[in-house]
């Protein structure tokens, strides 16, 4: 797999922002009342993410380390406002149903997290692909959530009647609690699949170790989804354990010297 496709795979599956990294939970829960809204929100985020990754990667040698966070915020906020104008002008209906969550892309930690963790250290091309991968991962997750909620809560998909006529919509799915339940189910499902795959890998490794000689075929320590490699910890507070752990660390370290850095490393996705 070359470097570019690896970036796409990383965003779509390995570090999927919604199901694995648990970033950007607010728009995930708030805007997925229908398939179109979910995908629309995902695509807006994708556009902002790709552009911000490109711009920040271009500027990475100009922006001094000390003021990088405010500089990133300015870049991101401008891009978000541009997207907001375009949405209002060309997709007024969607813009209205997404409402305040479009300007709130500014504080979506996927964007700032990727700027800090990836785009500020890598070339323009790779950063763009990183943005596409992450953005698509986010869009697909939001699409699934929106589709499921719309299907059960309204009996339709993308506005088309799918369920039989006698179906009484379970409106809790499109109400606020439904957002929490469907997201919980999706995350649990992904965790389940991941752990099954991990288990198979380990069994295979163990079997290989038996047939060969037990030299160095020790099964790799399982990388759990809830683990927290320092590199990808740009805002994974929500991940089980990691947030509070790092939180305690930052508290101990005083957190004072470089507050802005801690915002990103300390993990507080919005």
């Amino acid at each position: 797999m070359n470097k570019y496709t690896e970036r796409l795979y990383n965003g779509l599956i390995k570090e999927n922002p919604t199901t694995v990294m648990l970033l950007g939970m607010c728009p995930t829960l708030a805007t997925t009342t229908s398939l179109i809204n979910g995908i629309g929100m995902g695509l807006c985020t994708l556009v902002v993410l790709v552009l911000s990754n490109i711009v920040i990667s271009l500027l990475r040698k100009i922006i001094p380390d000390e003021v990088r966070i405010p500089a990133f915020i300015v870049v991101i906020a401008s891009l978000v406002t541009i997207v907001q104008f375009l949405m209002e002008g060309y997709f007024p209906d969607l813009s209205q149903s997404l409402g305040v969550y479009i300007p709130l892309i500014v504080v979506n930690c996927i964007i700032l997290g990727r700027a800090e963790a990836y785009a500020s250290k890598h070339s323009v091309g790779l950063s763009a692909f990183d943005g596409i991968g992450m953005g698509l991962g986010f869009t697909i997750a939001l699409g699934i959530l929106g589709g499921v909620r719309e299907l059960f809560g309204n009996g339709t998909i993308a506005g088309m009647q799918i369920m039989p006529k006698g179906y009484v919509p379970i409106s809790i799915f499109v109400l606020q609690p439904g957002a929490f339940f469907v997201l919980a189910a999706l995350i649990a499902l992904v965790t389940y699949i991941m752990s099954k795959r991990e288990q198979k890998k380990r069994e295979k490794a163990a079997a290989e170790a038996k047939t060969k000689k037990p030299v160095k075929a020790k099964a790799k320590p399982q990388v759990q989804t809830a683990s927290c490699a320092p590199s990808d910890c740009a805002g994974c507070a929500a991940r089980g354990g990691c947030g509070v752990q790092i939180f305690a660390e930052t508290a101990r370290a005083g957190l004072r010297d470089n507050a802005s850095k801690q915002i990103v490393n300390g993990g507080e996705p919005a």
């Binding site: 405010p70 002008g89 060309y90 209205q96």
Partner: protein
Amino acid sequence: MKGIIKHTGLLAAITIIAGLLLGLVHEITLAPIQEAKEQQKNDAYKTVVSDAKEFNVIDYDQKEADKIASASGKCTIDEVVEAKDGGEVKGYVITVTDGEGYAGDIQFTVGINADGQVSGVSFLSISESPGLGMNAREDPSFTKQYEGKDVEKFTVVKTGTSSDEEINALSGATITSKAVTGGVNAALSYYNQVLKGGVS
């Protein structure tokens, strides 16, 4: 010290460039945004008075309108449009904003035909809870209740309607139903007190 000046300068430069760029994009998208809004409005006019072809905004006394509207709740009248078809007045479209929605203001147009009956209600901006208050827009049977009735003032009820004046509330969204009804009443009373019998 030198570092601070350099950093401040750089940040300021980035911010200024960003600001200028935003101004530029704002200028470019201003026309399409206006156009989209106009389009939305025109569509709303056509849905509420379907047999008219031309819609002309008419001048009205804002103070008087606000006074009449506030009798029906926290409402304002934003625009009054005369709907015509070849010189014949088919009715009026009154745009109202009601501030008593569950989640912010609700803005909608009320069409009133030549007989003084509501001929349609169409939403311009509404952000109520999906699945509950949003049904005011999604479920056409709600706004249908206002149409074609010789009524001066509607009231909201929760347990089945018994007369023309009564509007069945959306289930789980009494606040939204009341807000919309308040707005429709404001438009009706404005029509009855000012527009009825023609505008001089």
